[in-house]
C-alpha cells in the first residue's frame, strides 16, 4: 500500500476492501475502501467511513389499498436512485451495507372513501417501530391526510434494515396514495 503525491494528479491513497483492511492500523490511518466506495479512517478501535456511503430514494407508484386499523407495510416499488443498490423494491426494504448513522425521511399521503379518523405513519427498524408521525382525528369532512416522519438512525451495515408502515382508521376503503405523495429516502450521514 502506497500513497502517491506527484504534484499533478491529486493524492492517491492506499485502497483496500473491507475484508482486506490493514491488520495492525494506527490511529489516524486512512485509505479508500472499495467495498464501501469511500475514504475511511481508523479511530483506534474501528474504521469509520468519512466520505461516500449509501443514499436512496423510492416511491409508491400506484395507490395501495390497506385494511382499516391494520398496520401495513408501504410497498415502495419504484426507485428514483440507489447509489449502493441497498433498497429492494420486492421487499420495500433498505438494508445499508455501511455501518453508521443514516438520515431517513418518510412522506405519506393516506385517503379513504369515507372520512378518516386516524392516520399513523411509522419508520420501522428491523421489524420494530422506531419513530412515527403524530396521530390525528380529522374533521368528518376530510378524507385525505398526510404524514412526514424523519429520524437519524444507526444501522449496523449488515443485518439492520428500514421499512415504512401505514395505519389508517376509516369506515371504508383506506388507501395510501401513489406517485410523488408517498416517498421514502435516506442517506449515510457519518460512520460509527
Amino acid at each position: 500500500m502506497t500513497m502517491i503525491l506527484d504534484g499533478s494528479n491529486g493524492i492517491t491513497m492506499p485502497t483496500w476492501t473491507t475484508a482486506n483492511r490493514p491488520t495492525n492500523p494506527i490511529i489516524g490511518a486512512q485509505g479508500y475502501n472499495t467495498t464501501y466506495g469511500g475514504v475511511e479512517v481508523y479511530n483506534g478501535s474501528t474504521w469509520t467511513l468519512v466520505t461516500g456511503g449509501p443514499a436512496f430514494s423510492a416511491y409508491l407508484s400506484s395507490t395501495q389499498s390497506i385494511t382499516t386499523a391494520t398496520t401495513t407495510k408501504i410497498a415502495f416499488d419504484t426507485k428514483i436512485f440507489d447509489t449502493n443498490n441497498c433498497f429492494n423494491t420486492s421487499t420495500s426494504r433498505f438494508t445499508p451495507n455501511v455501518p453508521g448513522y443514516y438520515q431517513i425521511n418518510l412522506n405519506v399521503q393516506g385517503s379513504s372513501s369515507s372520512y378518516s379518523s386516524m392516520q399513523i405513519y411509522q419508520i420501522y427498524k428491523s421489524n420494530n417501530p422506531y419513530v412515527k408521525s403524530d396521530w390525528r382525528y380529522q374533521s368528518a369532512t376530510i378524507d385525505t391526510g398526510s404524514g412526514d416522519v424523519s429520524s437519524l438512525i444507526y444501522m449496523n451495515g449488515t443485518t439492520d434494515y428500514i421499512e415504512a408502515y401505514a395505519y389508517i382508521v376509516a369506515s371504508s376503503s383506506p388507501t395510501v396514495s401513489g406517485s410523488s405523495t408517498t416517498q421514502i429516502s435516506g442517506s449515510f450521514v457519518r460512520g460509527q
Partner: protein, 61 residues
C-alpha cells in the same frame, strides 16, 4: 364478501374500539407485511379479552 381480520375481531368482541387497535397505545396490533400473507395478529395483550382462536375467526361470516 368475506370479512377481514379486523372486522372478524370486532364481530367477536363488539365492545372493542379503535383505541384498542392503535399502534403504541392499543393492546391489539394487527399487521400486514405486504408479502402476500395478508393481515395477522402481531401482538395481543388486551387485559380482559383473550386472543380469538383461528376456529373462532373462521366461524365469523
Amino acid at each position: 364478501m368475506s370479512k377481514n381480520l379486523y372486522e372478524k375481531i370486532i364481530t367477536i368482541y363488539s365492545d372493542l374500539t379503535d383505541a384498542d387497535f392503535m399502534p403504541h397505545r392499543g393492546t391489539i396490533h394487527l399487521q400486514n407485511d405486504s408479502d402476500g400473507r395478508g393481515d395477522y395478529i402481531k401482538s395481543w395483550t388486551h387485559p380482559t379479552h383473550a386472543q380469538p382462536t383461528q376456529e373462532q375467526l373462521d366461524a365469523v361470516q
